[in-house]
Symmetry: C2
């Protein structure tokens, strides 16, 4: 049997016949071949190492990509130039690899000999192994030995021995590590490498290895603990290695493992993307990253071949405009050509993703509601797991809101200028810890200017939130609620979020209730990371005169300049802004004596790594505290035609009717009548009647939370 | 003869036959009629007055637009509902107009009874007069008298008597005023109004009136003194009134006046737009405003009918996707349907617009150079007139730069949230004077932290710059130069700007030389208003620790927070940033002891009217000073695919070879050889050989400025 990881000679012959087709597979093959041919017109180049985004880094990346493609096109076309290029390039690597010094590391990830972090060296080995496997039978024994002893074996030894401690970590880097070693094992016909990759160094499938990664990193719903940005990255080695194992270790039946977890790993992130395909930027995310990336391309084709038709795979294919250029992609391309209509996006509804291996570590909830031609309103709430010690943010109960095509209340993402070499070699920078991970950087409540779990990633990872209720039975009034305990010592927090629409409002209202309770008094900072231009407040805001002070000494506060402060005139306050073509008004009930702070990010940032963004914080000292807000989306702004419509919205204030141990009741006062908002504190099944009596008046509703018109 | 201002009964019959056509005229007519019919389904509403962008303001705007359309469609369709709506609405106005109190003014523009500024009331009269003229023959004499005595005559009296001082101002408001009164005169058959509108209140065609406006506001090149944003606005009444006069005072032959200045007023601003159609934001501009606005729609159709075919009118029509829905538009629509190919944009070349009535008040220069698929590089330099006392900025020798689809060095525009009612009623706000007009708000040099002309608009308007040279003979090395004297007392300034391309650089280089000379020492602040994220500098920048101080007490400096400061390590310094998908590196020679300041806008802004934007300032104290910069555009950034290419560029430093009274010679040191930059101080015709000898070495070039490779 050939060691070719992904393609038999028969499959190659089949693909050769598709190369000129005007189909997705034909186009995808030709695009790869054109890039490969252009690359082959350049002389071979195997440099030393350098920083992320630097010339050496980019050369090694291009090399492994084209080693992969050249191997494949050797099988498809039989053109010896492809075979020779793979052989000669690998001989170049073999000659120098063990002589290269380790690169300069820029992150906790250890350095390789080719790249500043071994993560990239894992990727090199994944793709180079696959490419090499296509030519291994077609070169001389001496060349084989030179290549394998010169680069493959030493590289595996580095991953599994030199960096033994890093091989079995449960982390996206760990998936790449096992995929790399496993695929090298398949390419070289060396079973022990494959065994180590599948079962871990201890061979127990628990402490490490592909099976352990698939078990521990993904919840039963397919939610990936590090968040969608890393899920996008992890599904690349997951699918590549799964397919390799299906072909070379079919007895594992890897695609059926853990009730088809590989498939769910692909489908789950489709629910966490915005309508433009960008993925929600949780944890250390790059905010621009979308489903238009390699992992989804690979995943769509392999999933189609191994699991059969699913409408979501067609939607993905439509977004990608391509298929993975091999047998799986050819099958998907053929089915795609026969499809009947344009695919609707998969993420139409609301969904609650359970977190943790057993689905018992809280959840990540997403509510969606449409606003006609202006598109989806999407709200997310994080009451689940931390997102691993390394990339997780200390953002329990953080809220995000997207509507009218823009992120209204956003997550900063990670602080990293990926592949921008002059910005710290493209690596995570100090402000990732000092700002992006801190609680104050998120749309949640910061207690006493500290960070949740005191910014201890290991402690946070061992903890998790709790799901309280999630109700989407009423399409016009959906709700979710979660709780976290002792993320700040001695403080309990619960947050309920509703999306509500009725004919009075042009857009759905976001309603938010955030309860805090403690035995002792604390300073609670309820933060909103919005963007845009201030329009109005119903209380006086005093702009900082002259110099802008910083908000605090540490825990992220040192990065915020105080632009203005003001005291709420009553128990609630309105703060309105303009973003893009839309107006937003946030009305917050906080009780008497609340203070508002307008801040801007960028203080104490010696390398100018942070973006300049505004924040709005409502601060109050209390032991027990409720913050309750309505975010109203309204009006339209188009400066090119001097149009401004409804810059104020309708909500005037919020009144508290009851804040009891079982539930809270609020009155939202608007220009055209009032709304009553009910939100329970405990788990209440949908449809269950609930009532509370306040000053003799009986309030009745059903389920976890509800909104009614007050008559 | 009918008083119908724009349309005879015959023309109306013709247009009626086009209403169902699938042509630009058919679509344009139907779109207007649909909006009109929707409006007529609403009950009539003639409210009192309110702030800009408020409900009353918007209602009066909708009323005058639909008075205009209803009159027109009465003639076209003969549907009496249209006639009656015009009549009844005007009777509503007539009943209340003189009883309404004056509105609350928000600006120096005096208030009307319908609007917060009479400018809008002028617009009301322009459109309402035209609409009324269509029905005047078809209503009863008593109704005629009620309408004319109730609203038209009193309104004209307000414009020409109550606000007599404002009627003849040479200003876009003045054009609206004369168009309004003139069109009312035509509609009412009242010749004295027309005479006053054409010849001014003194009847001399000099101190006021349409002829004086056309003479004094436009340079012989058609450049409008207030800048493109106001030109867009002014061409609306210019064309409407010109066409009305052509029809009702044909003996004036207004379209031929001043060598077809009306046509040139339309074509000139097409040269001042970016490739996406947005107009360069000079002076108090709204930065979003583009050629997709009413004045260009009206102008394209009337210009086509009165001046005949011009390819630029087709380009405009393509951008607008519509024609003005009348006879002129029908002619343009027919020609458009017969055109052979898609129109190329008109603004392909470099152009120097002379300023002032006689073209002798300096100039506004624009250089353009293409960068293949990444589009046009556009650089502008202002060495002309001030832009009138009211809307002009104190920005002599300001530079702007657009490339790769974005404004790289931009102009802030005006500070005004137009029609955003909660933002000061949509009017200009205090920060327009305290920031936007100030010299430091612009890409020029501020002397001693003062404002040019000490921010005295009248003084600035009486002054102007001087054109020195403008050379575009060599398509790969274009240049322009201008001078201003005593904008700051005792200081002479000259600035030469080049666009240069050769195969070494992926994009054209912008080369800038700014000479200052004075008898005494001054502080010179050479400012760049860029946008984006800092990438690198070749000198240490110290971020402000903690609080961010303000840069100065007044003249705009009070609005800038100091984010960082640093001293150039040598005589030149590099400052690089990332904007959108492109990198920019600015290398500046300033001599020894220069200081760099990184600032951010937003300090001392109590109503949060300013946008948060960064600035980079190179400061040096001297009597005689040269600042010389190269702005290199390079690389590519696409975070969605983790791509970062060439974030550093090639220019390493600039060396001064000679700064003499006739010319300066600089060496631009790059990674791949050096460039020599020559820039003369005086007027040198293209092709004229020039030489200078420095330390025995003879440097030779020709023309005003040049770039050579150093061998």
């Amino acid at each position: 049997m050939s060691n070719s990881v992904f393609m038999s000679r028969d499959e190659a012959t089949q693909l050769a016949s598709r190369l000129q087709e005007d189909s997705l597979i034909g186009v995808s093959l030709r695009k790869e071949k054109e890039a490969l041919d252009a690359f082959l017109r350049q002389p071979r180049c195997v440099p030393g190492n350098g920083p992320g985004g630097g010339l050496e880094h980019e050369q090694h990346k291009a090399n492994y990509t084209q080693l992969f493609n050249a191997g494949k096109f050797w099988l498809i076309t039989g053109d010896t130039a492809y075979r020779d290029r793979v052989r000669d390039t690998l001989l170049d690597y073999a000659r120098i690899y063990t002589t290269l010094p380790y690169a300069v590391p820029y992150s906790p990830n250890p350095p390789g000999r080719l790249f500043h972090q071994i993560l990239n060296e894992h990727m090199w080995l994944v793709f180079a192994s696959a490419g090499y496997s296509c030519i291994r039978d077609d070169i001389g024994a001496a060349e084989r030995k030179a290549i394998e002893d010169g680069v493959f074996h030493p590289m595996v030894a580095m991953f599994s021995e030199t960096y033994r401690h890093h091989f079995d970590i449960i982390h996206n880097h760990g998936i790449w590590a096992v995929a790399a070693v496993g695929m090298a094992g398949i390419a070289l016909g060396h079973a022990p490498y494959v065994d180590m990759a599948v079962y871990g160094q201890c061979g127990d499938s628990l402490s490490g290895g592909f099976l352990a990664q698939l078990t521990k990193l993904l919840s039963p719903d397919g939610y990936y603990e590090e968040g969608p940005y890393y899920q996008r990255f992890a599904i690349q080695p997951i699918f590549l290695f799964a397919e390799a194992l299906q072909r070379h270790r079919p007895e594992l039946d890897i695609y059926q493992f853990r009730e088809r977890i590989v498939l769910r790993a692909l489908l789950a992130p489709l629910e966490t993307c915005f309508p433009d395909g960008r993925l929600m930027p949780l944890n250390d995310a790059n905010r621009a990253m979308s489903i238009r990336s390699l992992g989804f391309l690979v995943g769509a084709s392999f999933a189609f071949m191994r699991y059969g038709h699913d409408e979501r795979l067609f939607w993905l294919t439509e977004q990608l405009g391509a298929v993975w250029a091999d047998t799986a992609g050819a099958l998907l391309s053929d089915a795609w050509a026969r499809r009947e209509s344009r695919s609707a996006p998969p993420a139409g509804g609301s969904v609650e993703f359970r977190c943790g291996e057993h689905g018992d570590k809280g959840a990540f909830g997403i509510l969606r509601m449409e606003e006609g031609a202006r598109g989806a309103h999407i709200v997310s709430l994080n009451y689940g797991a931390h997102g691993l010690a390394e990339h997780g943010h200390f953002d329990g109960l953080t809220l995000a809101c997207f509507n009218r095509g823009q992120e209204v209340l956003g997550d900063y993402g990670g602080v990293r200028w990926l592949n921008v070499e002059p910005k710290s070699g493209g690596c995570y920078v100090a402000e990732n810890m000092s700002w992006a991970k801190q609680t104050i950087a998120h749309n949640t409540v910061t207690v006493d200017q500290r960070c949740q779990h005191d910014a201890d990633g290991v402690r946070a990872h061992s903890d998790h939130g709790q799901a309280v209720y999630f109700g989407t039975e009423d399409a016009d009034c959906q709700y979710m609620s979660g709780r976290v305990e002792n993320y700040d010592p001695g403080v309990s927090m619960q947050r309920s979020v509703l999306l509500y629409r009725d004919a009075q409002f042009e857009a759905p209202l976001l309603i938010d209730l955030f309860w805090l309770s403690s035995e002792t008094e604390h300073q609670y900072d309820y933060a909103f990371h919005y963007d845009g231009q201030w329009v109005r407040s119903d209380f006086p805001l005093q702009a900082s005169a002259g110099a802008a002070p910083v908000l605090g000494p540490d825990n992220g506060y040192q990065h915020l300049w105080v632009v203005a402060k003001g005291d709420f005139a009553g128990e609630s306050g309105v703060f309105g802004w303009l973003m893009g073509d839309s107006y937003y008004s946030l009305t917050t009930w906080a009780g008497s004596g609340a203070q508002a702070i307008c801040a801007r990010l960028g203080a104490n940032d010696p390398q100018f790594n942070l973006r300049s963004e505004p924040a709005y914080i409502v601060r109050r000292r209390a032991a027990r505290q409720l913050f309750a807000s309505v975010l109203e989306t309204h009006g339209k702004y188009d400066p090119a035609i001097e149009l401004s419509r409804d810059p104020r919205g309708q909500v005037e204030r919020i009144e508290l009717i009851e804040d009891g141990p079982q539930a809270s009741v609020l009155r939202v006062v608007t220009q055209r009548g009032n709304l009553l908002v009910f939100a329970g504190r405990g788990e209440v099944p949908a449809g269950t009647p609930v009532q509370t009596v306040v000053a003799g008046h009986v309030y009745q509703w059903s389920g976890g939370a509800a909104v009614q018109r007050e008559h």
